[in-house]
Symmetry: C2
Subunit: 693 residues, 2 copies
């Protein structure tokens, strides 16, 4: 028996299962950022003793496997004594009681991926055609399908149509229900995928962006192009590892890893579809309470409604018409974008070789797959259109960004930055485009830091540090007021998320806590600065224990600063080397896609040297451009062709093979020389920062 606290979930697992796997089987979410490679240290749990009685177990000892060498670096001797372990190391060897501290619990992320207004021409892959056919007669006993096809050709010029079997099966009844009038949904002018009785005009599709961390779905009316609703969720694969390499590793280490991860995302997409459809249903009414002595009466006679109730019901009936009551069966088209690894895992294509140099994907081009063939539960005969991959990890998500932003239609030299867990960059204009992928790592999103976390309630998202006093003010997600306007004990923070991370670095630097090289200045007097007694590393306290929900100080350590520097260095190096390839000193426009772009403070990003100098007015956040691209491909089939062309016409450059990559990278890790590299910051930031050497 394994019991998890505080959730009290329990159950039997096979002996030898590690705690993290046991937590999955029993429905407890433990953070596993590194994919059980024993390096992130996020899955710290405490094995407890002697509290088994209340679960009906007589043994008073937990039976976990022996302490391993790898665990030493994550725990102090005191913690070891208390029973702390890494959940990816410790294995179940009998009854075990496991306490999961709050910081190890995988929380629900706040996802904000609303649909932007972008221009799309209406020309969907699925179109609706209304026809009326003559009933069969002895003189003309033609088959039902042939009569429909005859009219489709005569009225709309559609020739050589095929029809999917499940739809053909419904045809005879639908024709007769519609009294020989039907509306036919035709995919790509060649395949009949739905037949509805009578005349129907509105029809629906869904565009999906499968991110490494977040999945967003845009539910669209395909006639009006209206986005009915946007729904999103965490990628359920997060439990197998935070980044793409961790997922690929999970596949390679587990015989059914690929299938498990694929099934998880497919189940997730199906639940998003249901959620999207439910948004068109009236809210479920609560049943009226009926007193026991009234039961018989109401069962035999219609309950006489009170005048007020009658009115309310009338209102409700009127109100009711606004609900479309759509079901998954009403969704006749779906488009999907995702990076190459997400793409491969979703389709159960072996992602192993994508993770090995020279990183060839199984397939580049776009794919049209019957939804049912991958277990997607929408209309029986509907297709899923998966956008093409570029190269390496630069996948269909980047193609989505490109067809949404269309840099290839402009003279302006655009730099498109999509910072997810993996950074994907495109630089170019109508003449040429190049792309690269850079290992920004998860630090920029807040992961793999001492107190990094996802953008979930309790995460610090904004920070300022007073240059004089070094006092910290901050704001947490889920609470409106900044710390200085609240009681400290109300903050209940537990870590720092992506947008806060960049603030931290910029503020630490401008307040003089760290130097240009990222090193903590040892001369400072702040009581927030200290040497950690266990790690012997310098660290700076962002929030004191009494402001947190985890009972300890939230700090940023020297190592954390280095992680952030690595991330921003990788991104900056990518940008600079791409510019060099293109022979450019500067770019005209920088577009930042993804949630990071929405939340980041552009000025601070420039101060930190995340990307090259540019007029701040031309640094634009384009939101979830990948999702916009998926939506464009849903509503305009020409965009699918464009996507195929784009994916083959962006030159992928592997930057790590450049001879001076290491030098460039080392330099980019530093906080930059403002004056030299960012003339556009002049007048925006303090002169002393700009001229600091």
């Amino acid at each position: 028996m394994v019991i998890f606290q505080p959730s009290a979930r329990r159950g039997l697992v096979e002996e030898g299962t590690n705690i993290i796997e046991a937590s999955r089987q029993l429905g407890v979410d433990i953070e596993a950022l590194c994919g059980e490679k024993k390096v992130c240290g996020k899955c710290k749990v405490r094995i407890e003793e002697g509290a088994f009685e209340k679960f009906g177990i007589t043994s008073r000892r937990s039976h976990a496997s022996e302490w391993q060498e790898e665990e030493n670096k994550f725990f102090t001797p005191a913690q070891k004594k208390e029973g702390y372990r890494l959940a990816c190391v410790a294995k179940v060897q009998g009854d075990v009681l496991v306490f999961v501290p709050e910081e190890a619990r995988a929380g629900k992320q706040v996802v904000s991926k609303a649909a932007r207004d972008i221009h799309i021409d209406l020309n969907p892959a699925v179109k609706m055609y209304h026809v009326e056919v003559t009933p069969p007669a002895f003189e003309e006993p033609t088959g039902d399908y042939e009569r429909v096809c005859g009219e489709l050709e005569r009225r709309y010029g559609l020739k050589n149509l095929s029809i999917d079997l499940p739809t053909l099966r419904k045809l005879p009844r639908r024709l007769r229900e519609g009294k020989w009038q039907v509306t036919v949904a035709v995919w790509m002018d060649k395949d009949v995928i739905r037949v509805l009785p009578g005349k129907v005009e509105d029809y629906y599709g869904i565009a999906i962006d499968v991110g490494t961390t977040t999945v967003a779905a845009y539910f669209c009316n395909m006639r009006t192009m209206e986005v009915l609703t946007t729904v999103s969720m965490m990628n359920p694969q997060c439990k197998y590892g935070e980044d793409v390499m961790a997922r690929i590793t999970y596949h390679m280490m587990n015989p059914n890893g690929l299938e498990t991860m694929s099934n998880d995302i497919i189940d997730g997409l199906n639940s998003l579809v249901v959620q999207a459809c439910e948004s068109t249903h009236p809210p479920k009414k609560k049943k009226k309470g009926i007193k026991l002595d009234e039961v018989e009466e109401t069962a035999n006679a219609a309950e006489p409604a009170e005048p007020d109730e009658e009115k309310a019901e009338e209102e409700a009936a009127k109100d009711d018409k606004q609900y479309l009551r759509l079901n998954p069966d009403d969704i006749v088209d779906m488009t999907i974008v995702g990076n190459t690894a997400m793409h491969h895992i979703l389709l159960k294509l072996d992602p192993e070789f994508v993770g090995l140099a020279p990183f060839p994907p199984v397939v580049h081009r776009n794919l049209d797959i019957r939804a049912r063939d991958i277990g997607i539960k929408i209309n029986d005969s509907a297709y899923v259109h998966v956008l093409p991959n570029e190269a390496g990890f630069v996948g269909a998500d980047n193609v989505g960004v490109l067809i949404a932003e269309e840099p290839y239609k402009n003279e302006q030299m655009q730099l498109l930055i999509d910072i997810g867990t993996n950074g994907e960059l495109v630089l170019g204009n109508k003449n040429k485009m190049i792309s690269c992928s850079c290992a920004t790592g998860p630090a920029l999103e807040g992961a793999q830091l001492s107190f990094g976390m996802r953008a979930a309630p309790g995460a610090i998202e904004r920070i300022t540090i007073d240059p004089e006093t070094h006092e910290v003010n901050y704001k947490v997600i889920g609470k409106d007021a900044w710390k200085n306007y609240s009681k400290p004990e109300e903050m209940k923070t537990k870590g720092i998320c992506g947008s806060g991370i960049l603030d931290v670095l910029a503020e630490l630097y401008t307040s003089g806590v760290i130097s240009k090289s990222g090193r903590f200045s040892k001369s400072q007097k702040s009581q927030r600065y200290r040497i950690n007694p266990d790690t012997k590393q310098p660290e700076f306290v962002i929030a004191w224990a009494n402001e947190t929900s985890i009972g300890k100080d939230v700090v940023i350590s020297q190592k954390d600063v280095r992680q952030i520097q690595l991330g921003k260095g990788a991104l900056y190096t990518g940008c600079k080397l791409m510019m060099r390839r293109m022979g450019l000193d500067k770019v005209d426009v920088i577009k930042i896609a993804g949630a990071f772009g929405t939340h980041v403070d552009k000025t601070k990003a420039l101060i930190m040297g995340l990307f090259p100098d540019c007029d701040l007015e031309n640094v634009l956040s384009v939101g979830n451009a990948a999702g916009d691209g998926a939506r464009a491909a849903l509503l305009n089939r020409a965009k699918r062709e464009e996507a195929n062309w784009v994916s083959r016409n962006v030159e992928y450059v592997e930057l790590t093979v450049e001879s001076d990559f290491q030098d460039q990278f080392m330099q980019a890790m530093q906080i930059p020389h403002m004056k030299d590299e960012f003339p556009h910051l002049e007048g925006i930031v303090l002169p002393e920062i700009l001229h600091q050497k």
Copy 2:
């Protein structure tokens, strides 16, 4: 509890289930020729009492539902007293013990559908292409699929190929297993359906003829066109009714009828596929017996083979190479023909409207369906090609006959007769073709007669009647010697099958037992002639009870003679009216397809007036031409186009709407005026028969 005797199968069924449905659920086969319409009387069973103890049941009474009016005509009062019931009428209402008499048991049919030699040009829909690609490199990190496509285009000119997802999933491993050499199976020059490592030349397909009664499969090497093996079976749907209308009725009377029947035929096809594949495996060896005291020794050391055994093993190894060891996964293409009802039921297309005037099918044209979409277990990505239907019940099977026999390529006026449970006729030449369907009924195949049965062991297949003594001689299936050369008690007959039926009528007529009109001559003295005391009908004894395995006389009754006359009348009327439509007095060639054609005695068929006069030399039996057509479409994709053209260019005529149809039909039921209508019989049959009026 329901218990069936003599099989002793037993089990629980829901109360209210009729006996025939209970028999299906418990795996007992009871004949149900009419599809439970209570009209064929084939499903006679005896409900027994008081023998329950040995099954551990205390009750001594069987609990079946009340006697129904419809049952009266099938049983004598004595039989009623004995407990005889129709299994389609009597329902289970508690414990029941049911005895199934031998004549009600659905036996295994002797099926003989060997492949004929017909000329086919080799041009299959699936072709194999061998390519070698360059491994991926940093300079060219193209996707695996794109590299294969590039070579397919460069070497073979194949463009815009798609690939099915299950095949794409296997691609990366197969490429690496084959050291960047693979053989690719491409369907219709557009879809990649299989990738094998290295160079592969032979590949395999299967052509299937789904008859109402018999299903035959031709397993072919698609490179050499060789038929590796032919396998066949009873259509497992026979238990739901013998003819197409009975099956359609079963669908309409049972909520899951269509699904049940479809699943049954699909399961059947899958077992045929397995059986076909197993013919390429070495026979399973019996394990050598090992004495107990030798066990340890042999477990630890390789057993030293005796010199003789060594030699035998060498032989076996040599012998072994002849086995291909093919599996269903090796089958990359399948074609299917069948009449419209079999076609619809197989594909779960609603057959209701095919059974209602003006008999429109759901679809005419040919269909390409992924095998997996209908549950056919062959290669993951393979297609099933279903040939097109003509009109009414004249379906893809008749199209198969046409593309095998190609009457449209000849000057000669050909009459093609395919007598299955439904008769399908085509008349024409290169200028014009017309087709019709005629309700020959099951009588010509031996069904719905007092002692009609399928061509199974024990069935009488040949009969002669001595014109003087009226003594009967006959031959049964499964026994070489005729009755006159055997002991009567060895014959063990239990009925008369299709080929015997025609003999009976011809012999009864030529021996003077019946007149031209089909009436039994009352003046005859034969002790075999009698009036049945129960039915008051004249009947003629073919086999005395002591020659049978059912303990009673096998007879042919006046009603039976009428049934046969109806069948032959329908066929002859069809032929004559078609000739009239075409303005023909005579036809040049008559081709008889199906098992009936193989077994029928041409002369006797002419005497009986089954089809119009023709030079006997030009009356040809073409065997299972429908299956040959399926095979032609498997090996030559041009035949699929031809089939589509043919199906649209045969004019379907509905003969029952002709004004003099009834007159023609009445006349055709008579045994014809030989001299007037069959000049070709002159010199072949006895003058007294020819000139008889």
